[in-house]
């Protein structure tokens, strides 16, 4: 475990950021997620839409008997929605949330590669005001001559699902007012 040793020896502020990353393409940019969080990669098929949910929730699919929600990452990042081609895949990730781990799928344009990323390859994300909000970004990694945006996957969904959940009390409020 070379990487593990390096992790222990260095006292960088982001020691957990190093490791193996699975990368995928979204609108020409390469994004990486911690490979230990990846449960599987499956081809993109249709999903059953759920009414009254945020737009970026594509719906739910049947993953061998379990209901798994699908997040459209393009929409999550407020990019232009496109019709998915045949390279489009669902990356199924384990997402940690308060109250336990969840399995969620993320539709991306295509999967790319797996990289070993060391700590000194990772730079903190500047506030570069692109379409990606920096709260989801763990850092930027330079691999060869390419730049990979490493995503903080828990953040990504936490904010997303939190928004959906926040809607419930509002609705309840509404109801109570409606009744009286």
């Amino acid at each position: 475990m070379n990487l593990g040793q390096q992790l222990n020896e260095t006292t960088q502020p982001m020691p957990t950021a190093a490791g193996q990353y699975l990368t995928f393409i979204l609108a020409g940019t390469e994004y990486g997620v911690d490979i230990l969080r990846v449960q599987e990669i499956k081809g993109w098929d249709t999903a059953t839409e759920i009414p009254n949910t945020p737009e970026y929730i594509r719906g739910i699919i049947n993953l061998r008997g379990t209901i798994v929600p699908i997040v459209d990452l393009r929409r999550r990042f407020h990019m232009d929605a496109v019709a998915y081609g045949n390279t489009a895949v669902v990356v199924v990730l384990k997402v940690k949330r308060a109250g336990g781990e969840r399995t969620m799928g993320f539709v991306v344009d295509a999967v790319s590669d797996v990289y070993n990323v060391t700590v000194d390859q990772i730079k903190a994300a500047p506030d570069f005001g692109t379409s990606v909000s920096t709260e989801f970004v763990k850092g930027l990694a330079t691999v060869g001559d390419k730049m990979v945006i490493l995503l903080e996957i828990d953040q990504l969904v936490d904010t997303g699902v939190a928004t959906a959940e926040k809607a419930l009390p509002i609705k309840a409020d509404l109801k109570r007012r409606g009744d009286t």
Partner: protein, 704 residues
């Protein structure tokens, strides 16, 4: 002890709790003065098993307590004492306390030692009185036992005479003595009187005996535990030092106590064989599946399944394997000529699958007697408390119901029965005055009806007092001053939160919390509750529940390209819309005139913000649903098949979605959402005709 016994704790607890249930029903069946000896035997066996088990696992308090119970039961068994109401009451309390102690040990929370002490005193008092005037001989061993059961302040005198074959059983006295010396100061004197002459000596036999003086306040069970594996292979006597001074002195002075080798000492092994473990005889033949990994976890994670069910399951799996191999054989070289065979195989596969599904679901099914069994006790205790005479009858207790449903059903049922006892059945003198039998009757009845289980709680008491309910409802402002209500509407009132007609609040009921909770619990299980009541003749509460929570009968419906499943239980009827019956009410949406009723129309596509085939109401279908007595028409494009669906949770990986109760997987592998009918009705009431945008909602809230 060298063997890790903790792995058996769970079994011990399960068996003990089951045993306590057996004891309770056995005690309730005892007729004072004329007890069936077989049922006393059963009680004794259970007490004995629990005592044996607990002493093996070192749960001293339980052992000591059950010991006293056992002694009393032994007296009853040998007719030295007759069963009286007092004894039964006391034993029932003891059973309760034992339950309390066992759960205390199980989750480590301990128990109420004071209560235990009091109960034990009571039991001992009964023992004492039962002996008085009887043969005096029986009171002598009793005293010793009672003293034995407790702590000896000064220590124990242990007379240990192994039989000759002890060593061949794999036991060795030496480690036992060593173990004893760890408990406290140990004086050992050896008894060599049985040693034969040298030429007769058998090196594999044990001729030695020991007299041990163990000093210190050590619980008896702790001492007994050390000998528990050998007690059938030795004569053993454990007496408190202060209880037998002469022997103690003899031992202390280090003299060898002469012992007759022939001494049979038939009563020596007084605490009888706990090593045999809890006796399974009192319990039905069950096998245990899904043994939980964490013994401290809740009861919900373990289930006891009848062995027959498992056997049936294994059979079906066997069939399935055969079908599978047949199909794969056909698949290996598939020719057009084999199509028929393939079709047959597939039919067989379908049948196997269905059978398998049914029997797997059957595993979760338990007879409702698990829930009903607690009621004889409840009725007995409460009728004493209320000074009423009440007979409880139960029928259909073998009706099977899903374990989850059963667990959640218990509290509502208890509440209903308590209500019947408290409010329903009148006092004996009142009943007499009304020309009824003094003894009131409460009847619990369960049966299957279609895909549901029906449970009735019926009493022949006073029935619901409509005038009183109406008056209370007016006083509490639930209904208007002069509002007139139909009979069933009046009965409905008792389900209102906080509604109570009780003149006095007792600790049994009358606080007005309850019926609303009962109804909510039952609704949460997907069921319904109805009341039938005749003033002066009694009331019947009928609960209807789905057999299982995992499967639901659903009507698949389509809107545009979306497929939803509506639970069949909520559907009243489906109809083609006649445009002349639709009327618009400004600001309130559309109303449909169905016969004499007016229903609000819910355009599901609007609520769910999806695109329908057509927005013209006459081209679609109106599904009339009922919830809570309120009807509504849900407008959809098309009715599809009716299908049993397996409910999958959305919350596992996502979150709760308003209007949706779950999801299910259709035959083609795609997912369909299951409508939550009350949720949809509510959504439509606050329908905001824009997509999901929290800021919009906030704006609406502010505006409202």
């Amino acid at each position: 002890m060298p063997v890790d016994l903790s792995q058996f704790h769970q079994t011990f607890f399960e068996e003990s709790f089951e045993g306590l249930g057996v004891m309770e029903s056995g005690l309730l069946a005892l007729i004072p003065g004329n007890a069936d000896p077989e049922s006393i035997n059963t009680l004794f066996r259970v007490a004995h098993s629990i005592k044996g088990g607990s002493s093996m696992f070192g749960f001293t308090a339980i052992t000591e307590f059950t010991h006293v119970m056992e002694t009393l039961l032994e007296k009853l068994r040998s007719d030295e004492c007759t069963v009286t109401q007092g004894i039964v009451d006391c034993l029932l309390q003891a059973v309760d306390f034992l339950q309390n102690m066992l759960s205390g040990v199980k989750d480590g929370s301990g128990h109420d030692a004071d209560r235990g002490g009091r109960l034990r005193e009571q039991l001992e008092e009964i023992l004492e009185n039962g002996n008085r005037g009887r043969v005096t001989a029986s009171s002598v061993p009793k005293k010793t036992e009672a003293a034995d059961a407790g702590h000896a302040a000064r220590g124990w005198h242990i007379k240990f005479r192994p039989y000759r074959h002890l060593l061949t059983t794999g036991n060795d006295p030496l480690p036992m003595l060593r173990e004893l010396s760890l408990l406290g100061d140990l004086d050992v004197s050896i008894d060599v009187s049985r040693l034969p002459r040298y030429q007769d000596l058998d090196p594999e036999a044990c001729f030695l005996g020991w007299d041990l003086m163990l000093h210190g306040a050590i619980p008896r069970t702790q001492v007994a535990e050390i000998f528990e594996w050998v007690e059938s292979d030795c004569d053993l006597e454990i007496t408190p030092i202060d209880g037998n001074t002469s022997q103690a002195n003899a031992g202390l002075s280090g003299e060898v106590v002469p012992i007759q080798p022939e001494d049979p000492a038939p009563h020596a092994s007084r605490f009888s064989a706990p090593a045999t473990g809890p006796a399974p005889s009192a319990v039905e033949a069950y096998s245990v599946v899904e043994r939980r990994k964490n013994p401290s976890a809740g009861d919900a994670s373990s289930i006891r399944v009848n062995i027959e069910k498992i056997d049936a399951l294994i059979n079906i799996v066997g069939e399935l394997v055969i079908t599978q191999s047949m199909l794969s054989q056909i698949g290996e070289d598939l020719a057009a000529s084999k199509i028929d065979k393939l079709r047959d195989g597939l039919i067989q596969l379908a049948r196997n699958t269905r059978e398998l599904q049914e029997s797997v679901l059957g595993i979760r099914m338990l007879p409702i007697s698990f829930s009903f069994n607690r009621f004889p006790r409840l009725v007995r205790d409460m009728s004493q408390q209320l000074c009423k005479k009440i007979d409880l009858t139960v029928s259909g207790e073998q009706t099977e119901i899903d374990k989850t449903v059963l667990e959640k059903l218990s509290d509502p049922l208890v509440h209903l029965v308590r209500n019947s006892l408290d409010h329903g059945i009148e006092l004996p003198e009142v009943r007499k005055a009304c020309g009824k039998d003094e003894t009131g009757r409460v009847h619990l009845h369960a049966y299957h009806q279609g895909g549901t289980i029906v449970i009735e709680v019926a009493d022949d008491g006073a029935g619901l007092n409509k005038a009183k309910i109406l008056q209370a409802a007016r006083e509490q402002g639930v209904i208007g001053e002069h509002e007139a209500l139909a009979e069933d509407r009046i009965h409905e009132l008792i389900f209102q939160p906080g509604f109570s007609t009780a003149d006095t609040i007792t600790d049994i009921s009358g606080r007005g919390v309850g019926m609303d909770v009962v109804r909510r619990n039952i609704k949460d299980l997907g069921g319904s509750i109805e009341i039938e009541s005749e003033e002066g003749l009694g009331s019947t509460f009928t609960i209807r529940l789905p057999l299982t929570l995992a499967i639901l009968d659903g009507q698949l419906v389509r809107i545009g390209r979306h497929i939803y499943s509506i639970p069949l239980v909520s559907i009243v009827e489906s109809l083609q819309v006649a445009p002349k019956c639709v009327s618009r009410i400004t600001g309130k949406g559309e109303i449909y005139k169905l016969r004499a009723d007016y229903l609000p129309i819910i355009r599901l596509y609007e609520v769910f913000n999806v695109v329908p085939d057509s927005e013209r109401i006459e081209s679609g279908i109106l599904v009339v649903v009922e919830d809570d007595g309120q009807r509504a028409g849900i407008y959809i494009d098309e009715l599809l098949a009716q299908q049993q669906v397996v409910i999958k949770s959305l919350e596992t990986n996502y979150t709760r979605v308003p209007g949706i109760s779950g999801a299910t997987i259709l035959g083609d592998g795609t997912v369909a959402l299951i409508l939550d009918v009350p949720g949809v009705v509510e959504l439509s009431r606050n329908f905001v005709p824009v997509g999901f945008r929290p800021d919009t909602h906030e704006a609406v809230v502010r505006a409202a």
